[in-house]
Symmetry: C2
Subunit: 184 residues, 2 copies
């Protein structure tokens, strides 16, 4: 029986990689954040820091799949309701704009060289999700993708601004703006 569950570990790792990036995340810090000792982390992740990062990226991808993709393509719900739920999830994962995006933190040179493909895949999943929503509100494929990209840009950009200004306002505005964009 594991002393610390997989999910607890992943959440701990996620938190450190998000706030420190790949280079800035030290094994001591990662260990402390998970509640395991450094050597025990290596037992769980024999591939070391790289494997930990890959696991966190996979975790993030499954989060997008569950909390964004599935929600935005749920045909049992009306588009407006889908969007509300997805944005609630997004708002929660970014802690109202106080927390930074994992993909941003890992897209420095070192992280990109090691995990560029996973990062691109996750972002494409994100864009694809919003693209489906766009088409559900009657847009053609090209316009829907354009809207998805614009929404992604506003989330990312507003997170940068919110972080720098130490205020959740830019992010909250961005969320509202995305909501308006898909109004039918």
């Amino acid at each position: 029986m594991a002393k610390v569950s997989d999910i607890e570990i992943l959440n701990g790792l996620m938190s450190v990689f998000r706030s420190k990036g790949y280079d800035g995340a030290s094994l001591n810090e990662l260990a402390e954040a998970t509640g395991l000792k450094k050597a025990s982390l290596y037992h769980r992740f024999p591939g070391g820091k790289k494997e930990m990062t890959a696991a966190v990226l996979d975790f993030m991808e499954s989060w997008i799949n569950d909390k964004v993709y599935k929600v935005l393509s749920d045909e049992k719900l009306v588009p407006t309701q889908r969007l509300k739920e997805a944005l609630d999830n997004i708002n929660a994962v970014y802690n109202e704009g106080r927390e930074v995006c994992l993909y941003r933190s890992l897209s420095m040179d070192t992280g990109m060289a090691l995990f560029g493909e996973k990062i691109e895949k996750g972002i494409n999943q994100w864009l694809e999700s919003f693209s489906i929503l766009g088409k559900a509100v009657g847009q053609d494929a090209e316009t829907a993708m354009q809207m998805a990209k614009q929404s992604f840009i506003e989330v990312q950009g507003s997170l940068v601004l919110s972080k720098a200004m130490d205020s959740t306002e830019p992010f909250q505005n961005a969320i509202q703006q995305i909501k308006n964009r898909y109004k039918t």
Copy 2:
């Protein structure tokens, strides 16, 4: 006479800090990028890595002042022309969207803790510049600031997307969108 000029050094440091962030930028790499040996860098920057970073941030701030602020508030030019020039400068400094923003790279936890104030100041200068332009095209102060923030968000967000997709298209679109926003 210095073997390597201040500007050459600053450009070298800037390049590394931008692509690697504070934690990821090693002294060896910084030295190599400047053309000096590690110890010689310490001769120029006795305060070490922190002083180098501060110098780069000051350099960036003076760049914004020259290439954005002064341009956007130059009353000898019509607003549309001011914007074109400023966006040309911005386009150049980001290498059409291939290079990342220094403020983004340094706004991980470590960088924020050390240089949060300088980062915030630089961004505020940026916002102030575009705010002046907004007022020049007839917007009230509040709307002008809102437009400035939106433009900043689109630059930052599109840079994130361009980096991840390895394409300059998102950034170029964003530049165009900003241009449209200030059309009179």
